[in-house]
Amino acid sequence: MANRVLTGTRFVHGDWACAEGAISAGCGYYAAYPITPATEIAERIAQRFPVLGGKFIQFEDEIGAIASVIGASFSGLKAMTATSGPGVSLMLENIGLAVMTEAPCVIVNVMRGGPSTGQPTMGAQGDVMQCRWGMHGDVETIALAPQSVQEMYDLTVEAFNLSEAYRTPVFLLSDANIGHLYERLTIPREEELTLVDRKRPTLPPSEYLPYRADESLVPPMASFGDGYRFYSTGLTHDEKGYPDMSVETQDKLVRRLCDKIRRNTDKITMVETLMTDDCEVLVVAYGIAARSAATAVKQARERGLKAGLLRLVSLWPFPDKLLEKMAEDAKAVIVAEMNYGQLVREVERAVKPKPVRFLPKLGENPHTPGEILEAIRRIDA
């Protein structure tokens, strides 16, 4: 039997690291439809899974892929799909089903330029709002944004852990630049990994209510074939899982589904800061754009400009309070992202009335450090 966790240091690309992250996390089911720039994840999984006993299937489309992922999740497996923006567009209805029925799963979006077919081989950060607001109805979502090949691995593991802990789909928002980037990846020893598994029911089947949650707001999850004989539906449902169209049930269910994530914003939030203690200009960035921002902030400091970087490692749930606090002593905030204005709206809302300067970037290449440095310099002047 081959090793599940390929401990050691290698020079690999981001999609490869993501696939290995999934395998390390214990992913047992992967379904996807080929799409640039995420296909290499499926290729790596297809190579590795048969040896490990994982189930890989290439579906007829992304809708089928995500529907089967939810079926596998309810069958007791950790399950994942990977795609790009157009694929997520097709998946959204069923991602909503995963939210509603509380199916832990991971959805990797290796973002490319949009809208529509856009720039298939080129990176972008244009799907940040799609994963937050693309589904109909009220939802909260969890999304992580890796900035390196190493984080493609680390955050894929983390995405599985969060999905299992909160019984919800979790997005890994990467982009073509990182997916296709070759860098050093260090995979830890298996015993060094922290893995989370969903909470299982402790009550006997006759007393089990599939959608009754304790104060954690996350109900224990039985799997098909365990003898619990539960029923689950995308319709508004009561604690038994039965359809119930009453106002009270809708109110209670939607609040719980959202609150189980909202109330844990502080726990879920992951950020990295660079020289923010005394900063007058706070730069906010994530993913590949944050690498240029880090260089720009260091260059600014060399020139005596008091700049700092807040790198958002998790994007959703959005850490409003943290942003507000971080921006408290700053003169202004700069947001650099590879789109025409998405997460900047959240930042503006959180730091109001602090002035926010937005640096958009469209078309493959991230901002250069020089561009961000120039923006810092202008605010300081």
Binding site: V51, A67, S68, I70, T233
Partner: protein
């Protein structure tokens, strides 16, 4: 409730969900009854069956069965069931859904699940229209039928479901009606025991929709299923269907081919 008053199938149904939502004269109750009776007669372990459905009137069937059950999004019962079938080959995966769910919005998944020969039983209630939304025309509606979205008569050619599924690779293909309860139950029993993609089309009257709009009473619709059907052992391509004149019914295909799961397990053994 005393022991004598207990319905013989009450252990197989979620009694706290009954009565069901279906209209008087609708065939879905007969399909549900045939399904659970087949399970009972085979003495199958209810813990080892998963019933999956899509959206629509037939989509509600999964909610009444006392097995693990899931009500998916519209058209996606088959990929959801594929996820189960591959993950848990020890369970019997059954899909109960309607013609619109399985052949219009979910049509692509159907041909691919059949092509892959995923081990599952699909029971498709065909009522020739979209019942739940108010009897609009669908992929099985006969040509020239008046419906709310085809007020001058439908101008589309309907699918022949058994021919389509058989040509896509299904290893068991049957067509029965809710009038032919004995044959229907036997076909379901066979499908529950079959390894591979098994498909049973069940012609079922939509009395409130199709019937009312085409001036047919529930009794007339049931009579039609008796009088206009002909049991034949033919190639599925020859199993023609025209509800107003003749519907060929029967068991058309029953062959054994390696299932997707079986081939996958072979591949895993080789890869190791």
């Amino acid at each position: 409730m005393t022991e004598e008053m207990k319905h013989p199938l009450s252990d197989y149904l979620r009694m706290d969900r009954l009565p069901h939502i279906w209209c008087a004269g609708c065939g879905l109750g007969i399909i549900l009854h045939s399904y659970v009776e087949a399970i009972q007669e085979l003495s199958m372990d209810l813990d080892k069956i998963v019933t999956v459905s899509g959206i629509g009137c037939a989509g509600r069937a999964s909610g009444y069965v006392n097995t693990d059950a899931f009500h998916t999004t519209h058209g996606r019962a088959l990929p959801f069931a594929t996820g189960i079938s591959i993950s848990r080959p020890d369970l019997k995966t059954v899909v109960i859904s309607g013609d619109g769910d399985l052949f219009a919005i979910g049509g692509n998944h159907l041909i691919h699940a059949a092509r892959r020969n995923v081990d599952m039983l699909v029971i498709c209630s065909n009522n020739f229209n979209y019942g739940m939304t108010g009897a609009q025309y669908g992929p099985t509606t006969p040509l020239n039928t008046r419906t709310p979205t085809s007020p001058y008569g439908s101008i589309e050619n309907p699918f022949n479901l058994v021919a389509l599924v058989a040509s896509s690779g299904a290893t068991m293909v049957s067509r029965w009606t809710v009038y032919h309860v004995y044959h229907l139950k036997n076909a379901i029993k066979k499908g529950l025991q079959k390894k591979g993609f098994s498909f049973i089309e069940v012609i079922s009257p939509c009395t409130t929709g199709f019937g009312r709009l085409n001036k047919q009473t529930p009794i007339e619709m049931m009579r039609q299923l008796r009088d206009n059907t002909k049991i034949m052992k033919v190639h599925p391509m020859e199993a023609t269907i025209d509800p107003s004149t003749e519907i060929i019914i029967g068991d058309f295909v029953d062959v054994r081919k390696p299932t997707y799961g079986e081939i996958l397990r072979e591949l895993e053994a080789k890869a190791r």
